[in-house]
């Protein structure tokens, strides 16, 4: 405990341990807070409780085996993680993905963005005392997870996006299911907004709280909705289009208020934009066509071919025993995850296992700005600020 002299006498600051087991830290994050009364003097985030060494494990797996590990990093955005990893490997291999597979990827990733924002909105609202929003958000998220189950057979750890395309053909009846979802979802987003946007308590808990300037946000390498709420239109889908994003029409919402409320509005607007993209993707995806690129030795052959062609069987065996070897070199690929710029850096030394796999995780780097957001604020606002950065601890610690 430290003692400081103030105008009225001796004042003591208290050190408070928030977390690692605290419901509003959304996982296991510890924040050491130095408090003067209820005001935060200093905040020091302490992470690593969920460190699983995914980057090290990737070095001991073949390129296609590591996809399942990426699912488990940011568990609210597994498809986005699959995408960035597969795109990095495809770049190393100089592999072209069929258009149809690219559109399917875009559709899945945008659905994932909506579901991730729904979890964020629900838990953020529950942290700030609005219980019912949580129930509504999870109702719609459940529908999205059902779509994923339809496509990949898995609700969360889908591993649906694979090197060279996607794992499976879209299932029977997929178009109707997504049409149905697109029909009711816009009105559901209105519903959340009607519960929160003009709610006096919500505004009181979020407006003018957790401000960060655009210069500070860039200097601290922040990305995603946090930087767009500060007025910087930095979105990888627009700036460095990947997976045919340049063929889609959508806006990048930005605001200038850069507080918790602004970041909330950005994410709600992004949900609507994602719905627009899913709509366009639905029209672009044809009923028939390839979902994987034709690259023998890299993409596993079709089951039917394996029964009739010897080469297909050999390739299948080779891919799943020794893997494939991209040429030596490095590739860095970035995509826009719901939390910001998700990057994957892969270095190959020409062997079937990567020399180094590194993930630039947006949660980790955005969390760095937390002290800047909370210092000088009341302790109750710390919870609003953690929520508004939208961290996933699985991705922070990897």
């Amino acid at each position: 405990m430290t003692t400081v002299e103030t105008a009225v006498g001796q004042a003591k600051t208290m050190v408070l341990n928030m977390g690692p087991q605290h419901p509003s830290t959304h996982g296991v994050l510890r924040i050491v807070l130095e408090l003067d009364g209820e005001t935060v003097v200093k905040a020091v985030p302490d992470c690593g409780y969920l460190h699983t060494g995914i980057e090290k494990s990737c070095e001991d797996k073949t390129y296609s085996q590591a996809i399942t590990l990426t699912d488990r990093m940011d568990y609210l955005n597994p498809l986005g993680n699959n995408l960035v990893y597969c795109m990095a490997v495809e770049k190393l291999l100089d592999l072209e993905v069929p258009k149809r597979a690219q559109y399917i990827r875009v559709m899945m990733v945008e659905l994932q963005r909506i579901s991730s924002h729904l979890v964020w909105l629900g838990t953020h609202a529950i942290d700030l005392g609005a219980m019912s929003v949580f129930l509504y958000c999870f109702r719609e998220r459940e529908e999205i997870l059902k779509i994923f189950e339809m496509f990949a057979g898995q609700r969360m750890m889908t591993s649906y996006i694979r090197i060279g395309g996607v794992a499976l053909q879209p299932p029977a009846g997929w178009r109707q299911t997504i049409e149905k979802f697109l029909k009711y979802m816009p009105s559901r987003v209105d519903e959340y907004e009607s519960l929160l946007t003009e709610n006096r308590i919500w505004m009181g808990r979020t407006k003018n709280i957790g401000y960060i300037s655009a210069e500070d946000a860039i200097a601290l390498s922040m990305t995603g909705p946090t930087i767009r709420a500060a007025g910087v239109a930095y979105d990888n889908r627009k700036l460095f289009p990947y997976s045919s994003y340049d063929e889609f029409e959508f806006d990048v919402p930005t605001r200038t208020d850069s507080d918790c409320f602004g970041r909330y509005m950005i994410r709600v607007a992004e949900m609507r934009e994602s719905l627009k993209i899913v709509r366009q993707a639905l029209d672009k995806i044809t009923d028939e066509g390839a979902i994987k690129t034709d690259a023998p030795g890299i993409v596993p052959p079709q089951r039917e071919k394996m029964k009739t062609e010897m080469e297909a069987l050999i390739y299948h065996f080779k891919i799943f025993t020794e893997g494939f070897s991209p040429p030596a070199g490095e590739a860095f690929v970035t995509v826009e995850s719901p939390r910001g710029e998700l990057g994957c850096f892969i270095a190959s030394d020409g062997s079937p296992k990567p020399l180094r796999v590194h993930f630039r995780s947006p949660s980790y780097i955005n969390l760095q700005a937390l002290p800047k957001l909370v210092e000088g604020q009341l302790i109750s606002n710390v919870i609003a600020c953690i929520g508004t950065i939208d961290i996933v601890l699985g991705e922070v610690d990897r």
Binding site: G48, K56, I218, L239, F240, Q368
Partner: protein
């Protein structure tokens, strides 16, 4: 695998390419240029890293204002063993650039980039934690994802994937070394 930068590609979009800008500023700053799969990598001498990074950020015709990522890779047993990799982005011109510094395994130390980009703080702490690279002038060089008393640097290539420790409490005859 790699090719040196094409001399005809010096002028891009009516302006000198960033590589040429840097070369014009200080000949020694650009030790090597690697173009691979459309990505530009500039290998910078260790002593000039901070000055080069500051130049990339501040020069009006480059404006690489966002340090998006920093990481390290270990080429053990080859020397120089470590490669520091910095990914820069110029938001206004939509351009990416990678800076790379080679470090010997005998003296793995480099200038910190926190004075240039405060966001480098946690990125460098992570590299210190997992690779054991020392960053000069870093304000808060502590382990970040591993416990403070962890021994060794797990992301080095000579550190086994399973680690050095046995599984703590297992029935007799089922320790990891015996499996």
């Amino acid at each position: 695998m790699t090719e040196n930068s094409n001399q005809n590609a010096n002028v891009v979009g009516g302006r000198l390419s960033s590589v040429e800008q840097l070369r014009a500023w200080d000949r020694n700053a650009v030790a090597e240029v690697v173009e691979y799969r459309g990505e530009t990598t500039i290998v910078v001498p260790r002593e000039l890293l901070r000055a080069t990074a500051a130049r990339c950020r501040d020069d009006a015709s480059m404006q690489f204002n966002l340090l998006t990522d920093a990481t390290c890779l270990d080429r053990h047993p080859y020397e120089p063993r470590f490669e520091m990799v910095y990914q820069l982005v110029c938001i206004s011109r939509r351009e990416k650039l990678r800076l790379k510094v080679r470090l010997s395994g005998k003296d793995p130390a480099i200038d910190s980039l926190v004075p240039v980009w405060p966001g480098a703080n946690w990125l460098e702490r992570e590299i210190f934690d997992l690779f054991g690279i020392h960053f000069n002038d870093h304000p808060d060089l502590r382990r970040i994802v591993l416990p403070d008393d962890w021994e060794g640097y797990p992301l080095r290539r000579d550190y086994p994937v399973e680690g050095y420790r046995d599984i703590p409490v297992m029935p007799l005859g089922f320790t990891k070394t015996s499996i």
